[in-house]
Amino acid sequence: MSYSVTIFILILPLTVFVLNGLLSNKLSHRLAGWLATGSMGIATVLAWLTAYNYFFQSSSYEKLIPFQITWLRFTETLQIDMGILLDPISVMMLVVITTVSLMVFLYSMGYMQGEKGFIRYFSFLSLFSFSMLGLVVATNLFQLYMFWELVGVSSYLLIGYYYDKPEAVAAAKKAFIVTRFADFGFLVGILLLSYYTGTFDFTKITNPENAAIAGMTGISFMGLSVLTLALTLIFMGGAGKSAMFPLHIWLPDAMEGPTPVSALIHAATMVVAGVFLVARMFPVFSFHAPEALDAVAFIGAFTLLFAAIIACTQTDIKRILAFSTMSQIGYMMLALGVSGYGSEGLGFTASMFHLFTHAFFKALLFLGAGSIIHALHKNDIREMGNLRKHQPITHIVFLIACLAIAGIPPFAGFFSKDEILSAAFASNPIYFGIAALAAGLTAFYMFRLYFLVFWGNERTYEHSPHESPVLMLIPMIVLAIGSIFTGFIPFGNFVSSDSQPLQAHLNVTVAIISVMMAILGITVAWIFYKKESLLPEKISNMSGALYHTVVRKFYIDEIYLFITRKIIFNLISRPIAWFDRHIIDAFMDFTATATNWVSKEIKGLQSGQLQHYGYIFLSGVILIVLVMIFTNT
């Protein structure tokens, strides 16, 4: 099989987007849904075939470009190409995106059944898959940036899917604007980088021997090398998309979108685009801008802990999962940040590995949450309980996902998290401490959720909750299988920072510590929430103000609101609007009024009366004569 068929992985969802979008009044729901799902199925098969060929049929994992055209020319050297770049991380991402997309498409066929905007939904979802796939196979920074914006807008459209709900509209707007702000940094970073290197091409930029890049480290601006500055700005874009502190505020609100959307976009794929971006640029970070990489590690570690703490106090099932996603992405960023290159590149491999396994169990958690919400029509975990009786299959797969994310062997999350902890352990004890602590918190908040929802007392529900239809269960089961077994993949053989196989061994010390932390977290959750108990309330009352700060997510949203409403809107925009009307425009009006006034004042001079003219003439003559007399003497 030639690699050129990979182009169809992109063309299929694009075609579905256009067809479903244009014919949304003409198609039947069934046809539109199966059209989208079927195409995604074919794309998935193609992606798996590509991966098989790439990883098992070739001896070395080189960068391949099976397809490329010039899209727009800027200068002799700078141009935007549209192409497909295959290398270990992009092939791995192709597999992840198509697989999770397919599962979510299938699931949505059941979940969204009967919705009025069913076809619109599948159209947008296909647009998203297309954009995300285009993003990971981009051959150059600008192509990546374009698809980056496109995933942003598909995310906007899908968060705002229930467009008559004001919260959904606000959430969509917030998500787009916050990421747009981050993309501003990203764009400036791209421009800076391309200005000095004269190229957008990944193959040139990420080549460690590239002379232009090496030359750039010498140029400094305000004490930092320009390259460090450029890469930090590029990372800002990644941090926005991946909801890293302090650009994370949009992700919890993004949960207003339909739950399958949250599974696909806001858990498995789009939010890890930032991680992918850093991985894509990793050689540059590693060789030429270690300071920028330190920033990645720091932000990653901070978000990891920060989000895990908040997750412990939230009560909305999807928001807990959203904070958990932030926290897990923090792991990935941290791993990249502490990684070296080549044989030191355990962190890189670990990060990609965690991205891979996380896609399965986090998508599963969201789909499980969707199954619950579908049955109960509510999101608050305090109003749920004893659901294991009503939804046995959902219960089992959800438990598997919880064990996977908590890092209990032999589930997938254990292996990838262990590699991350080992990488952190080798780099900096503080980072290791944070990561291990967060592992315990992860286990705690996941099992808090699990026990509250599936155990505890039976609640009175409006409708008796029922198990979800088969169309929703099959994808969940598939993902559950993935969450159990993907951990056994020898990931280092396939994906590493320099495309050479990397042997990663299980670090037993680290493994014991992390499993102990996880078990501790689960035990605490079990004591607190397995049966109704007063303990949690007592503890929250004891911590008082601190607890409230955490529940209110450390007031970050309020700070943003203050800046945007009070400062930008009230102190900048309004005064500008006023200034424009009352100063600049008033000046223009004043010119007109002044002209009017002057003409009114002097029009008396042209009265048409002869004696008037004669009088003025005579006065003038006398005046001139007087002046001449006096100036002569």
């Binding site: 010039t70 899209w71 727009l72 020319r73 800027f74 200068t75 700078l78 935007i80 600008f142 940036y145 374009m146 698809f147 914006e149 496109l150 807008v153 906007y156 705002g160 467009y163 008559d164 709900k165 004001p166 509209v169 606000a170 969509a172 707007k173 787009f176 604007i177 747009r180 702000f181 993309d183 501003f184 764009l187 400036v188 421009l191 800076l192 391309s194 200005y195 930008i568 809107f569 900048i572 925009s573 309004r574 500008i576 609007a577 424009d580 600049i584 425009d585 000046f587 223009m588 009006d589 007109a592």
Partner: protein
């Protein structure tokens, strides 16, 4: 002949409209005339591409000279390069859709359509002229009907707005006259003065002369291109103008400014442009940011679009002043892109207004449910405006930013970063409007009875969207024909 017919057809259409017997005939005639014009423009593009690919590398194609006033060296010189072809295409698309967007004009339809088409004739003439004097005549021909169109068929404070707009543009024209005459009297082509741009471009004007006349011509054209602080005619003018007039004005007329700045001020006086660019760069970057921030506080759809036009057109002049090919290419692309999307915006605002009778954002809401077609169009226009890849705005803005950032000077790069920050502000105001206007619950019960777009409204919006999408997806051909002409202008 091809070019002459570009002004003859609209002129004849305008004349024929005056003899029409009823409103139906007026509309049919206008629509036919402008359809022919649209076809002609595409044929011109086809011929142009054919000539270029055949290796014809002359500066202007299909040119000719008709003597008019030999003693003053005024002649009707015409010819087109890639930029003019692109602008002609834009103009014919906008006037074509403008006719359909004014389908419901009833009062004095005859005079309305005739004035509208005369205005377009002026614009077409402007784009094909190579003689400064004739170019100026066409410029005025395009500006004058605006007074009548706003003053008679407008709404709100229409007399005030029409007067303000005309006076401010006239003030700009006054500077232009001085500038053009200055150029004329300093020229020496074979022992005599000249108005011909191609001849003038080979003149090496002394620096003292350029220092005086560059700013005059630049500001003269800049006024209609909404250069800060001479932009205030725009919000009032647009808010009072009828739909098609706003479309034509923001879509095409404001582009005469950018086109003139490039092809007259910068082309003829490059040294002064280089020396004084920084002053105008500061003014234009103020336009970009100030316009964008100013929008956030607006509530009237037309004001919103007028201020955002200030921001987007500011970017055009900003890019031109970078004086390099990439940025200038971006400027021309931005003129076309902004022309299309602002025409779409104004068309849609007109269509919404005719249904809801308000233009205040917070008085509407939830329109997506009752007017899905128009709402989707509005969303697309918005996304184009905030620079979504795949739509024309992205192509234009990115070309500008990349081009501007290639400037070796630190000042230029820093000011570029400031201009880039406008993409965030643009996202804020676009999404605010889209959210408030189209989404959320329906605020007014009566809106439930609204009817979605009619066939002529669909024709107008779909044509504009198609152009926006085509440029957004496949920009290379357009960028190439513009780039090739810029090689001559920015020597």
């Amino acid at each position: 002949m091809l070019l002459i017919s570009l002004i003859v057809i609209p002129a004849l259409t305008a004349l024929a409209v005056m003899f029409a017997r009823n409103a139906q005939q007026v509309k049919t005639l206008s629509a036919t005339g402008m359809s022919i014009q649209l076809i002609q423009s595409f044929y011109l593009l086809y011929e142009f591409l054919k000539e270029r690919s055949a290796g014809n590398s002359e500066t202007v194609l299909f040119g000719n000279r008709l003597e008019w006033y030999p003693s003053l060296h005024i002649s009707f010189d015409y010819g087109v390069d890639g930029i003019s072809v692109a602008m002609i295409l834009l103009t014919s698309i906008v006037i074509f859709t403008g006719v359909f967007a004014s389908w419901e004009v009833k009062d004095q339809a005859k005079e309305f359509f005739a004035s509208l088409i005369i205005l377009a004739t002026g614009v077409f003439g402007f784009f094909i002229s190579l003689d400064l004097f004739v170019m100026f005549l066409f410029f005025e021909l395009a500006v004058i009907p605006m007074y009548l169109l706003i003053g008679i068929w407008g709404s709100g404070k229409k007399e005030y707005s029409a007067m303000k707009l005309t006076l401010m543009l006239m003030a700009g024209s006054a500077l232009l006259v001085v500038g053009i005459l200055g150029i004329y009297f300093h020229s020496d082509v074979n022992g005599s003065h000249s108005f011909n741009i191609i001849d003038l471009a080979n003149q090496n004007f002394p620096m003292e002369m350029q220092r005086i006349f560059f700013p005059l011509t630049f500001i003269g054209f800049g006024v209609i291109g909404a250069l800060f602080p001479f932009h205030t005619w725009s919000p009032d003018g647009h808010s009072s103008a009828p739909t098609a007039v706003s479309m034509l004005h923001a879509g095409v007329l404001m582009k005469l400014g950018g086109y003139g700045c490039l092809k007259v001020a910068i082309y003829l006086m490059p040294q002064a442009a280089n020396e004084m660019a920084w002053i105008f760069l500061i003014l234009t970057s103020i336009s970009v940011i100030y316009g964008a921030l100013g929008v956030i506080a607006q509530t009237d759809l037309k004001y919103i679009n007028a201020y955002s036009s200030v921001s987007h057109c500011g970017l055009v002049l900003f890019a031109l002043l970078m004086l390099n090919k990439t940025a200038s290419n971006g400027a021309v692309l931005q003129m076309i892109s902004h022309g299309l999307m602002t025409a779409l915006f104004f068309a849609l605002i007109g269509m919404l207004y005719s249904r809801t009778h308000t233009r205040i954002v917070h008085e509407m809401g939830g329109l997506m449910k009752v007017l899905p077609f128009l709402s989707v169009c509005y969303v697309i226009a918005g996304l184009a405006s905030l620079g979504l890849p795949g739509l024309s705005g992205f192509v234009a803005e990115m070309t500008i930013f990349v081009g501007a950032f290639q400037h070796p000077d630190m000042f230029h790069r820093v000011i570029t970063i400031i201009a880039i920050s406008s993409i965030v502000v643009t996202a804020v105001y676009i999404l605010r409007v889209v959210g408030g206007l189209l989404m959320g619950p329906i605020k007014n019960e009566e809106y439930n009875n609204l009817k979605d777009a009619t066939w002529y409204e669909r024709l107008a919006t779909v044509t504009l969207i198609a152009a926006i999408v085509i440029i957004g997806i496949a920009p290379l051909w357009l960028s190439d024909i513009i780039m090739e002409s810029l090689g001559v202008i920015l020597r």
